[in-house]
């Protein structure tokens, strides 16, 4: 299976692990990750104002690339996924926005056909759930993580806005728990798993971010978790920076470990 | 050139006549010239062997004939249907116009039919026509043999073919195709894009040629009324000939309206019009509007579907908006 793979800038710098293990695991699962040529930063945050066009063009370029290759576009970073998915939704549902974007795109060197949200946007976890299947994953596991009690941390970007992301049940998600089970470990359910870590204010108001992050890591710990797993570099940063007493790892690292491809 | 050979049809029909599955066969028969193929009923293998044709001129849609043919005896009727014909077939079944049990349908794949007018324009004094894969060879009385591209002679409805998939059959010759993405609404959109004056002039020009021969109505598989309003003195609409500048418009608007949601866009009306009026553009306008206003609907895609004209939602658009919406589409 070939998919268009959008790594995003954080995965090239501070979150190299997230990227590296995603690549190794994908290979082990027989998925070929095709990076779009000349991809640009997704912008880090989806600006919900409908008259913001320029900041969303890089996502549209990546989406058009995927559409032309007739592949789903896959990301591992929650933020990239959120931005690209929301941009795609706006292209499908907001005619004014879409026509303005297409007008911009028509100015490009090799103008593409008008884009109307045809590409399929998948998070790496969705790719595993919907295209690979957790049963297949389970069968591919070489080093089951038996006995580990792991808390899945969703944060907000993967889930919300629920209508747009359509990732899982917003209030009671299960995809990462199912993922953890497939790897042989035991998921820990705790109520703060879909609360915000305070990510975006990390720079602006570290005290507020600390409060939010600690609430998450404390809740996970109180429910008996030994480890927190996340898909988001910013969540990881916030939790670790603010003194999470539990180790925080990327889901791809766990995946690579279970598939026996962590070290090569 | 058609994928299935004429002999395959003859053999199939003869076998079904011989084993008593069917009593009669509805198929195409050669006319005076190679291009004027006509519908015919065959009752013996000999007739079939002698007269049945299957070539690029077999445009006629037999669905409507089944209403009368199935009533004639208790035996089953064998009918050959092209993909587009099966939509009409299903639509007639939806309307309970004949008994499905009395018909044996053989689906025949279709590579598109030729436009007789285009053929006639391209050659004078046609003596015979033969098909050779993507070429058509026309023997003429004056200019010898002409070889033409088959594609250049295709009928408009076949260029814009909406489906190569049979929606009904008992038996299929060859492989079934798919529903196609066609550009059949492009012409409608082009008219919508004109100014009102241009549109009026366009239709005035087209419809004023109408001679009220009723061929469009008589061939239309949706026009199967026991008594047509235009033939019924009690309807207040009866009129045998166009008597004023509006009469023919009224006839065509009402006719198109009577088949709203029922017209499968088989294109027979335009095929038979002796004045070459593009009547399908009226029906297609309704189909396009239905798709835009109420969601896509293809009459005859399945038996028993409910046409949008006899359905509603509480959120439908207002008639005054409908015209404006039409503008945006243009």
């Amino acid at each position: 299976m070939k998919v268009t793979y959008f790594p995003g800038c954080t995965l090239r710098t501070k979150a190299k692990d997230l990227d590296l293990y995603a690549r190794r695991s994908a290979e082990a699962l027989g998925i070929e990750l095709c990076e779009p040529k000349d991809w640009q930063c997704c912008g880090g945050v989806f600006v919900s104002a409908s008259d913001e066009i320029a900041t969303k063009l890089s996502s549209v370029r990546a989406l058009i690339d995927a559409k032309e290759k007739e592949q789903p576009i896959v990301t591992v970073c929650s933020a990239c996924h959120n931005v690209i998915k929301q941009t795609n939704y706006a292209m499908q549902n907001d005619e004014t926005f879409a026509s303005r974007v297409n007008a911009y795109m028509a100015q490009e060197k090799n103008p593409p056909l008008p884009y109307a949200g045809e590409a399929e946007v998948l998070h790496f976890l969705e790719l595993i759930r919907d295209k690979v299947g957790f049963d297949t994953l389970k069968a591919a596991v070489k080093n089951p993580l038996t006995g580990k009690k792991i808390a899945a941390y969703y944060g907000c970007l993967l889930l919300r806005p629920g209508k747009v992301m359509a990732f899982d049940d917003v209030e009671n998600p299960s995809i990462i728990e199912d993922f953890i089970r497939a790897l042989g470990a035991e998921p820990v359910i705790y109520p703060a798993r879909n609360e915000c870590c305070g990510g975006y204010v990390a720079l602006e108001d570290p005290a507020s971010a600390k409060k939010k992050s600690n609430a998450v890591s404390d809740s996970a710990k109180n429910h008996g978790a030994e480890m927190i797993v996340t898909a988001c570099p910013l969540c990881k940063y916030n939790l670790v920076k603010n003194g999470s007493s539990l180790p925080v790892v990327y889901f791809t690292e766990l995946l690579a470990e279970a598939l026996g491809v962590k070290e090569v | 050139m058609q994928e299935i050979t004429r002999n395959a049809l003859v053999e199939k029909a003869s076998a079904l006549l011989a084993d008593g599955t069917v009593g009669r066969v509805l198929a195409w028969k050669r006319g005076e010239f190679d291009y004027d193929v006509t519908p015919a009923v065959f009752q013996t293998a000999e007739e079939l062997a002698r007269d049945l044709v299957w070539n690029d001129f077999c445009g006629a849609n037999f669905s409507k004939y089944l209403i009368k043919e199935t009533e004639k005896s208790d035996e089953k009727v064998l009918v050959f249907l092209k993909p587009c014909d099966t939509y009409s077939f299903n639509q007639l079944l939806t309307e309970h116009r004949f008994n499905r049990e009395k018909v044996y349908v053989i689906g025949v794949p279709c590579a598109g039919m030729l436009d007789v007018e285009k053929v006639k324009k391209s050659a004078e004094g046609i003596a015979s026509i033969t098909e050779d894969s993507d070429k058509i060879v026309i023997e003429t009385l004056f200019d010898g043999a002409l070889t033409l591209d088959r594609a250049s002679l295709l009928a408009e409805r076949c260029i814009n073919c909406k489906s190569k998939k049979h929606t009904a059959y008992d038996e299929l010759l060859g492989e079934d195709g798919e529903v196609l993405d066609s550009a059949r609404f492009d012409e409608v959109a082009a008219i919508e894009a004109m100014t009102p004056d241009e549109r009026f002039a366009f239709w005035q020009n087209e419809l004023s040629r109408c001679i009220r021969c009723n061929a469009c109505r008589n061939v239309c598989p949706a026009c199967t009324c026991e008594k047509c309003v235009f033939d019924n003195p009690a309807s207040g609409l009866e009129n045998k000939a166009a008597s004023d500048s509006f009469e023919e418009k009224m006839f065509h608007i009402i006719r198109a309206f009577h088949v709203v949601g029922r017209c499968t866009d088989c294109g027979e009306c335009s095929r038979v019009c002796p004045q070459q009026i593009p009547l399908h553009l009226l029906n297609r306008k309704f189909i396009k509007d239905i798709d835009n206003f109420y969601g896509e609907y293809q009459a005859g895609a399945e038996v028993g579907s409910r046409a949008p004209i006899v359905d509603y939602t509480t959120e439908d658009l207002e008639p005054n908006e409908a015209v404006e919406r039409g503008d945006d589409n243009a």
């Binding site: 009671n172 | 116009r97 309003v229």
Partner: protein
């Protein structure tokens, strides 16, 4: 050719002030068919009517046109006048030259000209009128009530009281409905069972009432006064007439792990069961999904212990067809699923419950014997949070809940809060509300008592999230009055779930051709003036199937529906409206298009034999209109492309004649 009389009314100066009535009468007398044309001061007066009657008799008139006020005013008057003179009342047409002419136009030439044209149109129409006679149909003097909750029970009792036989069809093994599950009722706090069960007994013992429990309606045909209904009696594997309801089987059944739906799955029952002690009919039912005997043929304990031999494992569903004159729908409501509101953690914690579940937890016959205990650990909850409007008043585009107010939640929550504070004064009770809606007799007083006397904390604001942490439920909510975000450690959270019509209502509406709104509530014939009738003649509405209702409202509507039914069943014959659709069978194609647009199901198709001109006999499928059901809207006439379907009194030809007359 008709012989038509024209009668132009002055209406004092109302018409004559702006219309030259003499000129109108004069102009119309030369219209085709007109033999006499007169004007008079007041046509509707006795003298005016006498003038018309005499003219009809003297001139052997076959039709009349009255140029006067609106037909909505005096059409009925002039029809009676015509009938009194021996003329068919449907040979009368009115030209409205007052409301639609003299009153809206200023000068006499304009008014006169228009009046003449309106008159001509009426003459043109009457030329094509035909005498019409309204049809009559008999009335089956028996009523069907669908649904055996308090609405259905009350309706059935009232109808039976008037001496008419009634059948109740109930899908559950017992009647009683939602009210049977309740503990106390507001605003009087009397026990629900104490007031409901006597009514259940009344209905069971009333010899005019038959109860078909564990049954459903599967088909309805016919029309007002003459419905034919097929009722499916599901196999309960226990002979209803033999079972004594002793309950021995339900004690001995080895299959103990069946979720008890009467207690909303909070405890278990056996595979053979009687839903509750006061069930009516009090007979056991075997649940085929759980009974090992039915599933694998091994067991048979109930049959062995039954002393009267009532068990019948071979039982099959039975169908029964009955005739009814009237049908009452009383299918009731259900709370909506809380699945899409998991910010309140309903599916994550057993201690987040719905209000109906709380009713069972507080009911002496419930899973806890009436002691309020947490479902998770059986402890007494000390802090309880009530969340109002869960799924009610949601924007329609929210796709989660319902746009409407569920109406009953404010009051039952006040009741719950009050009862809890009364029984367990050491409990803190918080109610988060958006608005407290108490428009009912003694309702607001009741709510105020909860606050003032019982010390329930009413907080204006909404709960944002409930997080199960340990054995607590952490509730995060806003307090809009104090401008605070509250964090409450609760032991129990109670959700006031929105209510929705029972799922059986939609297919039932289709069978009855009764209309529903977008929320699947049945629509009434008129929202103010005919609130208990459905627009489909002979179908009546009782209780929450028409909209959210509390018990007092349900009972009064049930009585109202019963009185409408009684009014109908008292009649021996029904007279219809003769202006109904009619199909010309020779022209009909049998295409079924008209049937699709008929809102009343008045059109059916049948295969009929026709003698053809060539003397052969042909079987043709043709439409036929049930004149007793048709209301005369005319939707079918336009759907019919051949023009076979026409509307009496408003035929295609008549309307076109009017168009022609106006456009001449």
């Amino acid at each position: 050719m008709q012989r038509i009389g024209v009668f132009v009314c002055h209406c004092g100066t109302n018409i004559a002030g702006t219309v030259d009535v003499k000129a109108v009468a004069e102009a119309l007398q030369y219209e085709p068919g007109v033999v006499i044309s007169k004007e008079y001061q007041y046509m509707c007066s006795q003298a005016g009517q006498d003038l018309i009657k005499e003219a009809i008799k003297e001139n052997n008139l076959t039709g009349i046109v009255v140029c006067s006020c609106s037909p909505r005013m005096h059409e009925a008057t002039f029809r009676k006048t015509a009938a009194a003179a021996g003329l068919n009342p449907y040979m009368v047409e009115i030209a409205n030259i007052r409301e639609q002419c003299s009153w809206v136009h200023k000068d006499i030439p304009t008014g006169t000209e228009k009046a003449i044209i309106l008159g001509k149109a009426a003459v043109a129409k009457v030329n094509l009128n035909a005498p019409l006679t309204p049809g009559e149909s008999p009335v089956t003097k028996r009523a069907l009530v669908i649904g055996g909750g308090i609405a259905g029970i009350q309706t059935a009792l009232d109808i039976a009281d008037a001496g008419f036989p009634v059948d109740i069809v109930e899908t559950k093994p017992t009647i009683g409905g939602k009210m049977a599950q309740l503990d106390k009722t507001f605003p009087t706090l009397d026990c629900a069972a104490c007031i409901l069960t006597p009514k259940m007994v009344d209905v069971a013992q009333n010899d005019k009432v038959r109860i078909f429990s564990y049954s459903e309606v599967t088909d309805v045909s016919g029309f007002v006064g003459n419905f034919e209904v097929t009722i499916k009696r599901r196999a309960r594997y226990v002979k209803e007439d033999i079972c004594t309801g002793c309950g021995l089987c339900t004690e001995k059944c080895p299959q103990k792990k069946v979720p008890n739906e009467f207690n909303l799955g909070m405890d278990n029952r056996r595979a053979i069961y009687i839903p509750f002690a006061q069930a009516v009919p009090k007979v056991a039912t075997i649940d085929p999904d759980y009974c090992t005997m039915l599933k694998s043929g091994k067991c048979g304990v109930c049959s062995k212990v039954c002393t009267v031999g009532a068990i019948d494992y071979q039982a099959k569903d039975e169908y029964l067809t009955e005739k009814y004159g009237a049908i009452v729908v009383a299918t009731g409501f259900n709370p909506i699923s809380m699945e899409k509101f998991d910010e309140f953690a309903y599916s994550q914690s057993k201690d987040v419950i719905t209000s109906l579940e709380l009713e069972r937890l507080m009911n002496a016959a419930g899973p806890t014997g009436g002691t309020l205990l947490r479902p998770s650990d059986g402890e007494h909850p000390h802090t309880i949070v009530f969340v109002q409007c869960v799924g009610s008043r949601c924007a329609s585009c929210a796709e989660k809940g319902k746009e409407y107010c569920s109406k009953i939640c404010c009051m039952y929550t006040a009741k719950h809060a009050m009862l809890i504070r009364d029984k367990y004064p050491d409990t803190d009770v918080y109610v988060f509300y958006i608005d407290v809606r108490t428009p009912g007799k003694n309702f607001d007083e009741f709510y105020r008592r909860a606050v003032e006397e019982y010390g329930v904390h009413y907080i204006k604001g909404m709960v944002g999230k409930v997080s199960p942490e340990g054995n607590k439920l952490k509730v995060r909510a806003s307090d809009l009055i104090d401008g605070k975000q509250l964090h409450i450690d609760a032991d129990l959270v109670v959700l006031a779930a929105a209510i929705e019509p029972d799922k059986s209502a939609r297919p039932l509406a289709t069978m009855l051709t009764a209309s529903m709104d977008t929320n699947d509530f049945f629509t009434e014939a008129h929202p103010k003036l005919r609130p208990v009738e459905s627009p489909t003649a002979g179908v009546f509405l009782s209780g929450a199937c028409q909209g959210p209702k509390d018990i007092p409202e349900t009972v009064s509507q049930a009585g109202a529906a019963a009185s409408k039914v009684i009014g109908l069943l008292c009649k021996d014959k029904l007279t219809g409206n003769p202006c109904v659709a009619h199909s010309d069978e020779w022209m009909c194609n049998g295409c079924s298009t008209c049937e699709k647009v008929c809102p009343y199901g008045a059109i059916t198709y049948q295969d009929k034999e026709f003698r053809m001109p060539d003397r052969t006999v042909k079987v043709r499928r043709v439409a036929s209109v049930n004149e007793a059901v048709c209301q005369g809207c005319g939707a079918c006439t336009v759907a019919c492309m051949s023009g076979a379907m026409n509307l009496k009194g408003f035929t295609n030809q008549q309307i076109m004649a009017e168009v022609d007359a106006i456009c001449k």
